[in-house]
Point group: C2
Chain length 156, copies 2
């Protein structure tokens, strides 16, 4: 038997902003990212029961980037606009709308917005219960930077 449930809702998008959802700074503080904003679309709000994940939208200005970081939880990324070069451990890979990316536990990753004229926008889905991101230590950075392609891309 179905019940009416007012928590069900359509959130209309316009210019990559979703009505009825508050916008946040990407992170409260830090020096390892640039030109990024985010919205938790669904998964953080009251009444949003029956799911154990968060669907977030991140947007990164041209030339901007997310933190180079790693953590035990996985990420699912779906690119919605712009283009990205993603550092994924010892590789640098490219993606564009609507490519999908799986970032496995402990993978070191950084997303760089590579379009000249359009921000990089992507969905990033994670478990609600997750460990905090960690920045790489100096040894890891040195190891990654041994590859000139990776060294040319990472921003710290």
């Amino acid at each position: 038997m179905s019940q009416s449930n007012t928590a069900s809702k359509v959130f209309p998008e316009q210019a990559f902003r979703w009505q009825g959802i508050e916008e946040e700074a990407y992170k409260a503080q830090g020096t390892h990212f640039s030109g990024a904003r985010r919205q938790v679309l669904i998964g953080g709000g009251s009444g949003e029961q029956g799911i154990s994940f968060e669907t977030r939208y991140f947007e990164v200005e041209p030339g901007g980037y997310t933190s180079l970081e790693h953590h035990a939880h996985g990420h699912v990324v779906v690119v919605l606009r712009g283009s990205v070069e993603i550092v994924l451990d010892q590789t640098v890979q490219q993606a564009s709308p609507f490519d999908c990316i799986f970032i496995a536990p402990h993978s070191l990753h950084q997303l760089v917005a590579t379009s000249q004229d359009e921000p990089l926008g992507f969905l990033c889905i994670v478990d609600q219960q997750r460990d905090p991101p960690q920045l790489p230590d100096k040894e890891t950075l040195n190891r990654l930077s041994a590859d000139p392609r990776v060294a040319a891309r990472i921003r710290t």
Copy 2:
């Protein structure tokens, strides 16, 4: 300390199909849907650790529809192409790319592809552990059909 992890991967999209991911029938059997296909993008494969959700892509041909159903788990839907009218309990609402929809536990819902010339394509994210969908009983159908707007839209 970061480790290399070969489970991290980019799945390139082309024409709303993702390379490296197998396509499935929408459901193995049933008479309550029409013209639908799906891909589990991430969350069902080996090595896809660190997440407790599945990110799926559904595509519905013009005029086609998903099952009118309800269940205890929630859904997050992000429209990627086409347009949709969604029956959401006693309402009929419209959505288009990149509108986002939260379907709360026990909400009766059905998505109908309303573009004449383009399929409806959408991401649907759910917990990996979830209860099976249930079709509405006759009493619920009668109650919904009392509203002519809903009656005109639902397909059973």
